[in-house]
Amino acid sequence: MLTELGERREGDQVDAAVAPARSGLKRVAGLSASLVGTQAITSILGLAFWTLATRTFTATDVGVAGAAVAMMMLLSSLGSLGLGTLLIARLPVTAQGDRRVLVRTSLLAAGSTTGVLAIAIPMVAVHVFGAENLRPLVANPLTALAFAAGTAIMAIVMVLDQAVLTIGIGVLQFERNVLASVIKIGALAALNAAGVNGGMTIFVAWAVGSLVSLPLISLRTRGGWHLQTDRRLANPQALKGLGRMAASHHALNITLQAALQILPIMVTALLSARENAFFNSAILVTGFVFALPYAIAISLFASASGSEREVLSRIRLTLPFSLAVSVLANIAMFPLAGFILSVFGRSYANEGVDILRALVLAGIPFVIKDHFIALRRVQGRTTEVVWLFGGFLVLELAAAAVGAELGGTLGLTLAWVGVLAVEAIALSVPLYRSWRRYRHEVRADGDALATAAAPDALLPDSLLPNSLLPNSLLPDTLLPNSLLPNSLLPDTLLPDSLLPETSLTEKLLFSAYSDRRDTEPEVIEVGPAKAGRATRRKTISATTVLLRRLIGPANLAGPAMVLMSLGVLLMAVAANAGRAGSIAGWTRAAWIGGLVLIFLPACFRIVMRATSHVERMILAVAMPMILQFSRLVLNPTQFAFHDELIHANTLRQIDETSRLFTENPLLPVSGYYPGLEVATDAIHRLTGLSAFVSSVVTLMLARVIISLAIIAIVGLVTGSRRAGAVGAVVYVLNPQQLFFNSQYSYQTLALPLAILAVYLFAVRRRRSRSALVLPILATAMVTFTHHLTAILLVGAFAVWLLVDLVVARHRPAAIEDAGAAPSTRAGRRREQVRSSDRGGLLWMSISGAAISLVGALNPGSPVRTYLESIIFSSTSDVTSLTEGKQTKALFSDAAGSGPARWEQGLLLTAVLLGGLAMVIVLRFLWTHRRSPRSLLLIVGLLALLYPVIPGGHLTRATAEVGDRASGFVFIGLAAVLGWWLWRSTWRMRSLLAVVAAAVVMFLGNIILGAGPTAGQLPGPYEISADARSIDADNLAAAAWLATGVPADSVVYGDRTSGLLAAADGGQYTVLHVSTNIDASRLLLDPQYTDKDVALIRRAKLDYLIVDIRLSTGLPHQEYYIESGEFGANDRTGPVPAAALNKFASVPGVQRIYDNGSLVIYDVRGLR
């Protein structure tokens, strides 16, 4: 105990007042009564303050003030850096003469840190994330400074209140709080009387109360002035080395307090300040409701004297009692809610009644939660609680955000309470288990209840379960520790983490008295140098306990999947905001945050060496799957991208005709490679699911295949499936992974099947006649699905054969020695690949080529001309580039929009990291030069093609080639980087750097492949911008075409309207790619001429679809309709409105549809 340290005891009056510990429920009841009483006084004063505010200011002002106070409490909690807790622990062991300078230094550190936070965070929230509702906090420099000053004062007050606990004047904190409350009421009244208004006025009154109360502390502690030996204002050295000590407890504090501090800010930011006024008022009232159960929970812990058994023995009564109180409060609050809120005003009673009723429900889960915390504290398992409650906090806030999106403030409240209820259910399990275990122990040991007197409980205020108190009702400090019985304060057992590292003797003394879980024999036995390691082992042990008890044995796959799903949820919220027209900063931040939330947990766990194999495999498949799912939040019911609509049209045609190889006017070649659509049709017909849902299932299957195939192939190349899982993470860095390779497009399925074919060939059963059946079948399906992938697959087999021949010629004799059978599994696997049958490769090459040829010779297939046109345009563009003619602007699309500066930086960093990876690729090839293997060389060479991906973006035509190549090139990179990451030994710090680089590359490559974040999100209509061009107007026009005109009528429209007319409207859209007719002048030439009539006759056009919005801007995808269109070469501005309206005055033309944005003309009269 501390008394044994001697130095703290001098002049410490509190310890003298330690009463003999009472036992049992009487002690709980006594403490509860004391807490409730003091809580009531400060709460009543707080209520009076807010009542005055609501009665004299507008609801919006009160809402702003509520948000400001909530943010102040949050930032001051963060900015106090746990120094208050630290002082409680540190002051008693600090020389009397140095105590004041330590306190002053702490106050300065807390105040300055908080001040910086209070300036920066509101600025970022408003100016970067677009939280306009928080703008009053930084409306002008004066308010920004006032907010920063008020928040800094609050941080100082918080730290100071905790510091005074150690000097023995227990009532001082209470006195200061009462004084502050009274002064702020007076200040508010005075400011109001002076005619000062606005939400920040309420805040300023609060800050004035805190500021004016500070001298009281100085006055009451003046007796110690003469004792100080160090009279400097501050001594930074005093805090040196203490930072980590309080981190754990500070983290717990923050975790527990954050929800109630963040929720008002969320209401203000997501909804409005006015809504927060009602929400804040409801929270104020709940403080009274929660007070008794809260006090019981604290008292339970405090009176248990650090004994787990005592807590468990009392839970039997305190838990049902607290629950009963909460239930009764709920029952009472239901009819009384309106009446109580009427204290604040009529509008509060009307608007806040349901919110209050919902909020009060939180009392029930809080009872469970705080009993759980009390139990874990006496068990010394605070680290567990931090991790667990940190996760809960994320869940609560995510649910609240979704709730706000769906149902406003009430939705937010219900969602939050709902998550709390789920948490309570989850926590009740370990609570019950502990109690059951206690009962068994009691039965086994009749003396169990007669527990030996344990050291007094640890009770710095940071450790108290204060999660359920609304901060705005609390006195300035979060917990009125001064009002706790003196016996609970300085005479406490300090956690060893709070002791100075240099004082090993002290540490051992404390350890000897601390909970058995925290005292490991090796801590005592090792010297100071090893103490750190021992402590670290203990931390790991606590985490492991958490995992085993709550998550499962050393398997974090489940929680990681939940986090990744929350990432999707966050992306859904961002997409919803985008659809509603908000592409504000916070929307983009939420979108990126969602992506990071999906990628980071899986990446981190997979690359960690300690992760179990099962978890690694689960995450390696789950992460790409969940990323695929994220596509659905953008377009949950509708094909939206150019290529998707092309294949949707083929799917529709198969559905309608039950036949394959029908002409698809949107891209004729796609109709001859319908493997994707056939697989979808199978699902659609066999299950009855809609075509769209069936397509989603098909894409999910494709994603499963490619994830597993990458793991398997990289596993084959490197000899380690773990490296395979790392390779799967690397493959996700592919720029096309999020958008292009998740689209309903033939390459999306063909690529996984191609890797499958290679895998099936590589692991085939040797010397079996049927060995090649599966790889040939897979190759056939690839050929049936996508022309280019099939060609590349056959080419890969041919190259493999060639490389194998070359390698065999240069392979050292020792390697060829068949008698040297490898002894390890990896060695056997390498040997299996090495001895691949050249005959098999020859068979695969020949059969693949033959199948591809059959596919190309399919009557009517335009594959040859199609591929020729791609080669021609790419060559032409590359030639232009080499001649110094830039054909594509960097960081800008055709409409002039492009990524923001930070996005450009991210993109370039990602490309740079990709370039650095080339060094690793070269090292990979160099390392294996002495024992080259064909497959290994092929993946190495494939990885070396990486520069094609960013380099392709230099020209228009090669940009698409580069994009499409990324799916293949990253197979090589996955193998090489998987090998590198897995074979290297990483320290945690290096590993974190690798993970951070992976996150940057992931985000940067998404921008490279899919453009700026704002363009990835849904939003208002944009011209020729894929998904952003599809809105209610052109969907309505396509839907009308499906019913208003005969199917397969010949139509013409812009890029988007034409696609939708075919895919959704069931019409035949004229395009140059399918008819060799360039009819673009019909829409783009302002003059009506004979050429128009000739085109209509030549194309046998029935209907013309005109989107009159085309005249409002340039197209984002280079053209309005298709490549080579009328006026494309010298276009400097949008298409003239006259061009879009010219058919309105042409005799014989009927205008048969008009929805304000799109009109449809019947031009059959001109034929």
Binding site: G552, L660, A682, T687, R829, V1146, R1167
Partner: protein, 276 residues
């Protein structure tokens, strides 16, 4: 089917799957029969156009039952079984569709169900030819230690479902069909002009504007989602007329259709047949 391979005799598989075990003769029904029966039931439900939830459930169960049994013979671990099972399922379905294309029924529901169930019976029979019944590659998934992960998985799936639901709702809210005015083909000198919208709108009136007059054809038109209003409009021959949707006592044209049957413009659009 061959049961001995270089890999199988020496290596339980890179995925670390349980080695194959000889469980003796488990009985045809217990091993294969129920799988075939499940496939037949699923196909029957599918062919009978049963409710989607029913056909989806049974089809999924049948596919898993058949594929799981067939991939047991690979004996290369769980990753290989999952990869080959999923990949070859897609391959086989695709190639089956190609084959169906050349049969009289094409790719209809009946032909798909018959083809799929026949294929299931064939592969199960082939798998049953071996005396050995290897252990399931997925057996480790059903151990007690997987339960926590499974529970987390359910939570994860629930969150994904919520994300999807709110996205669908949001998409529905923001993709409301606009107010539109459309016309059917002119028949017998009349065209049916329809006013429609995806939300409650109105009141409107429909005016017919000729070169000499403006005639109100309909008043107090209100429309909503699923409720459109059709107005029969007389279209005079050899004349250009305009049908306008306006708000009462307003001249601002909201939507406008044009009927031009002037002789110089050629024939009117009496026929609606496609010329392709």
């Amino acid at each position: 089917m061959s049961t001995t391979t270089e890999q199988a005799t020496t290596d339980p598989g890179p995925g670390g799957a349980a080695p194959s075990t000889r469980s003796g003769d488990p009985g045809w029904l217990r091993d294969l029969g129920w799988r075939m029966a499940l496939a037949v039931v699923a196909a029957t439900l599918s062919a009978a156009n049963s409710p989607v939830w029913l056909t989806t459930s049974f089809t999924t169960a049948a596919v898993i039952a058949v594929v799981e049994r067939v991939v047991r013979h690979r004996r290369r671990g769980m990753v290989d079984a999952a990869l080959v099972g999923t990949g070859m399922l897609v391959v086989v379905l695709g190639l089956l569709g190609l084959a169906l294309n050349y049969l009289p029924g094409g790719l209809g529901r009946l032909s798909w169900t018959v083809g799929a169930v026949l294929l299931a019976i064939i592969v199960l029979t082939a798998a049953g030819l071996s005396d050995e019944v290897p252990a399931s590659a997925f057996r480790p998934l059903f151990s007690r230690s997987s339960l926590p992960t499974a529970i987390w998985g359910v939570v994860s799936a629930s969150i994904l479902a919520v994300a999807l639901i709110i996205s669908v709702q949001s998409f529905g809210r923001t993709h409301v069909a606009p107010l539109d005015l459309s016309a059917s083909a002119v028949k017998g000198g009349f065209s049916s002009v329809t006013v429609a919208a995806g939300s409650d709108q109105g009141p409107f009136q429909v005016d017919l504007v000729t070169s000499t007059a403006r005639i109100t054809l309909a008043k107090d038109i209100t429309v909503s989602s699923g409720k459109s209003v059709a107005v029969l409009v007389p279209i005079p021959s050899g004349e250009r007329v305009v049908v306008q949707l306006v708000q009462p006592s307003s001249t601002v044209v909201l939507r406008q259709l044009i009927f031009d049957t002037t002789p110089t413009a050629g024939t009117t659009s009496a026929s609606t047949g496609s010329s392709r």
